[in-house]
């Protein structure tokens, strides 16, 4: 327990980083596939990601992940170095994506505190076979399996192959330290001390680093130059320099022994003068010297960091605190005692306070906003996979992916979005031949669009496929017995809405991706849980548009406060259609004792809150209280309460864990603090109306 706990921050970072890298990796593969081949950048990018995942997994002792990453890394190492001419791009992409999936699952397990126990043997085998195949194809030149890999597996050793490792070669290295690391001369000195064991001869400039602190400035400006003669080979030297902390830029290359001698002489002749010419040469040399184009800019340089990642829990807490601040601010400034104060200064000050708290609240909300682009990017992968499987060609276009929504909401829309896109690809977009016959472009198009609309975000998935077939929908609905009206009466919209009902799927053949009859209703449910709705529009042969309307944030709700007895409840304003005091004659009971009210010729069920929640001292006379008509998912119900207290923006808090673990109370979404410090329970109308209407 305690050990786990101590590991946690590191584990968090590992999980976070690995997930991020996997996402980027996926994007890199998909984008290179679109370009029809791996560009050199993409290859080294993929190589680098895999390398980092391998390293960090090894550090965290997740050996399976490490081995998978390692094998993939090998493949890309081979590609990078050998640049084989015929490459099975799609084969590699498939394989790598498979590995990405595997690692994702393992990381998921780790996140859930389970053992990452997935078996990667077959995967690794396939990868190895693939690599061997590639090697064989490229003519078997230099298939020297890096021997150093076996002896120190968990150690960072870049697999640079040196075509000619002579027994004893000369090297030149130039190191620039990070701008703010200070004491450059000492760092250089430690570097040299470490090198002593590996080299036969070593010369460096500036030479008197150990006892002359002035050299620090020199190193800062000119870099630290080392010439050495060694028999350990380029790899080891390079690895040593790579490991050197605080190095910002460095280059290591092999040089002729004469250069070493020249440098040595130069040092002797003019000690304090730094040889200018060779330094410039060195950078010009880069292109001709393949090994030296490794000027690595360390990715996590300490300077100029504009972004930080923060734990969501902390943000939630901050949000809570600001919520409380807003409430206590209004408790202070609106308190009746304060109103009697006749001091202009005080009122000015309280106005200022009000302004600041409001700004603070806006700011906190803004911090929690995350752009949708990551979620959208993930969809690329689905499109790619499905296109391959289904042999369709589809281009996905993004519009407004920069639109921001609350962090909590992002988590909830990925799955529904995936579902909708799968449906579009599987059912919506026709086969190539069919498209050509219809006179459409043979490549299918899906447009994924996000835009702000008031306090909602609209996410639109639009395809140019065959559209929904009304006949098929009705037929299917009849068969499944979910048709409630006669078909003549139904509007197009109502018909399309049928596909959102549970147990509906028009595709006869169940495919791998969609058509298990758990399609759209799951989307609807997922979105409902965050207060969103789904709209379906379609035009035969022109495509289908599915619009998801999602609130910007879950944390603040515009609510109507009501009272029942001593209790206070808050109803989300979006669900309220009207409130009224009924005439005694309009209310009646059916033989089952269900109470109803007649409004404008329609009947609506009445839910007495005091009865439903057994609240004491509530108003029992319908004509003395108030009925609030609420609507969710086309269902309407009238809630009976004592009186309306007024409309207010409330900050949603969850009920205490102890309470929720005791019982799931239907119809309650959470609680909030009112301006006077009392607590109000926020109602979940969806849960409530489900109680009464079947």
């Amino acid at each position: 327990m305690s050990v786990n706990f101590e590991n946690e921050p590191m584990m968090d970072i590992y999980i976070f980083e690995t997930n991020q890298m996997l996402d980027q990796l996926e994007q890199a593969i998909i984008s290179s596939e679109k370009q029809g081949g791996f560009s050199a950048e993409n290859i080294s990018e993929i190589f680098r990601f895999m390398h980092t995942i391998k390293g960090s997994s090894a550090m965290m002792l997740f050996n399976t992940i490490e081995r998978v990453a390692h094998t993939v890394e090998d493949i890309f190492y081979f590609i990078r170095e050998q640049k084989p001419e015929q490459l099975d791009y799609s084969g590699i992409s498939d394989l790598v994506l498979e590995c990405v999936d595997f690692i994702k699952i393992e990381v998921e397990k780790i996140t859930n505190k389970n053992e990452p126990d997935g078996d990667a043997e077959t995967l690794i085998e396939t990868l190895k076979i693939f690599l061997d195949g590639m090697k064989a194809e490229s003519g078997g030149v230099e298939i020297k399996d890096k021997p150093e890999e076996t002896k120190a597996k968990q150690y960072y050793i870049p697999q640079e192959k040196n075509p000619a490792v002579s027994l004893s070669a000369c090297f030149h290295a130039l190191v620039f330290f990070q701008d703010d690391c200070m004491m450059e001369n000492i760092r250089a000195y430690t570097l040299i001390l470490g090198l002593m064991d590996m080299v036969e001869e070593i010369y460096f400039s500036p030479a008197d680093i150990a006892d002359n602190p002035e050299t620090a400035i020199e190193i800062r400006e000119m870099g630290f130059e080392v010439y050495m003669k060694s028999d350990v080979g380029y790899e080891m030297i390079k690895a040593y320099f790579d490991k050197c902390i605080f190095a910002d830029r460095l280059s290591v290359r092999e040089v002729d022994e004469r250069a070493l001698k020249a440098f040595q002489k130069e040092l002797e002749v003019a000690k304090p003068v730094i040889p200018q010419a060779p330094l410039i040469d060195l950078f010009e040399d880069k292109k001709s010297q393949p090994a030296s184009n490794e000027v690595t800019g360390k990715p996590n340089g300490a300077n100029g960091q504009a972004m930080i990642s923060v734990n969501v829990d902390k943000l939630d807490k901050l949000m809570d605190l600001v919520g409380e601040l807003v409430i206590s601010e209004s408790m202070v400034t609106q308190s009746p005692d304060v109103e009697n104060i006749e001091s202009e200064n005080f009122h000015k000050a309280s106005l200022e306070l009000h302004k600041i708290t409001e700004e603070l609240q806006d700011m906190v909300m803004a911090i929690r906003m995350v752009s949708l682009s990551n979620t959208f990017m993930k969809m690329n992968r689905i499109v790619r996979d499905m296109c391959k499987k289904l042999n369709k060609e589809i281009v996905m276009e993004f519009i407004g992916e920069q639109t921001e929504v609350d962090k909590n909401i992002i988590e909830h829309i990925s799955d529904p979005l995936m579902h909708v896109i799968r449906n579009s690809i599987d059912h919506g977009i026709e086969d190539e031949d069919e498209r050509l016959i219809k006179g459409k472009d043979k490549v299918g198009h899906i447009i994924l669009e996000a835009k702000n609309m008031g306090s909602d975000v609209l996410i639109v998935v639009k395809d140019d496929g065959q559209g929904l077939s009304k006949e098929k929908i009705i037929e299917k609905a009849k068969k499944n017995g979910i048709l409630e009206k006669s078909e003549e009466e139904m509007t197009d919209r109502e018909i399309y809405k049928l596909i959102l009902l549970p147990g509906f799927s028009t595709n006869e053949a169940i495919t791998e991706y969609s058509g298990r009859g758990v399609g759209m209703d799951v989307v609807v449910k997922n979105l409902e849980s965050i207060g969103g709705v789904v709209l379906v529009e379609s035009e035969p042969d022109h495509g289908t548009t599915i619009t998801m309307k999602i609130p910007l944030t879950l944390a603040i709700v515009e609510g109507m406060n009501i009272s029942v007895g001593r209790s206070r409840y808050t109803i989300p304003i979006t669900t309220i259609s009207e409130s009224f005091r009924p005439q005694a004659g309009d209310c009646f009971r059916d033989p089952d004792n269900n109470e109803m009210v007649m409004i404008r010729g329609k009947c609506y069920p009445i839910l007495r809150l005091h009865e439903h929640y057994k609240i004491k001292n509530g108003q029992t006379d319908l004509s003395k209280g108030i009925l609030i008509m609420v609507e969710q998912d086309e269902k309407r119900i009238c809630i009976f309460a004592d009186e309306l207290l007024g409309q207010q923006q409330v900050v949603v808090k969850s009920l205490p864990h102890y309470v929720t673990s005791m019982k799931k109370i239907l119809g309650l979404a959470g609680c909030t603090l009112l301006a006077d410090g009392s607590i109000s329970l926020i109602m979940d109308i969806g849960g409530l109306s489900g109680l009464r209407i079947q």
Binding site: L321, S567, I615, L655, P656, Y658, V659
Partner: protein, 164 residues
């Protein structure tokens, strides 16, 4: 005590063998001080429907929403209206923060291991299952609570307000 919050600053090390004693009817109970975060007077609370009757509702403790449990009802004793001596002992037990409503809070006592005896087996009475063992302070007997059991909920409880 009044309605003022009293914080308890004791360090973990010193807390061993220390119990906060409180009264319910005429019995003295003790709760290990490590669980207690503060003692407050009774606050206005909001009833939450569909919960067992001993969960009186939730209170707003400086912005934190915490449930409060009436210990009399929890031990199936008679409900008595709250007065100025009524206290809420705010406890952190495992991951949950719960306020325990008691008649009054007495003092913090130190009870050595040699003064703690096992409770008799086979006893009847509902409150007994919540008592871990029994402490002696001078002539007084203090029933030491088994806090985990107090917080544990079983399915067969009566919902709020039904029996009042």
């Amino acid at each position: 005590m009044n309605n003022e919050a009293v914080n308890i600053f004791d360090e973990e090390v010193d807390q061993k063998g220390q119990y906060l004693t409180f009264l319910l009817e005429d019995e003295a109970y003790g709760i290990w001080i490590g669980y207690v975060t503060e003692i407050i007077g009774i606050l206005p609370y909001m009833e939450v429907p569909e919960l067992p009757n001993y969960i009186r509702g939730i209170i707003n403790l400086r912005g934190r929403i915490i449930p409060i449990m009436d210990m009399r009802l929890r031990f199936s004793k008679n409900f008595v209206d709250y007065n100025e001596r009524t206290c809420i002992i705010v406890t952190d037990i495992e991951a949950d923060t719960v306020g325990l409503i008691v008649d009054s809070v007495s003092e913090v006592v130190t009870i050595g291991d040699n003064n703690i005896i096992d409770k008799p087996m086979m006893s009847t009475g509902i409150s007994n299952q919540f008592v871990k063992n029994i402490g002696k302070v001078g002539d007084e007997v203090i029933l030491l609570l088994d806090c985990e059991k107090v917080l544990m909920h079983n399915e067969f409880e009566k919902p709020l307000n039904e029996d009042e």
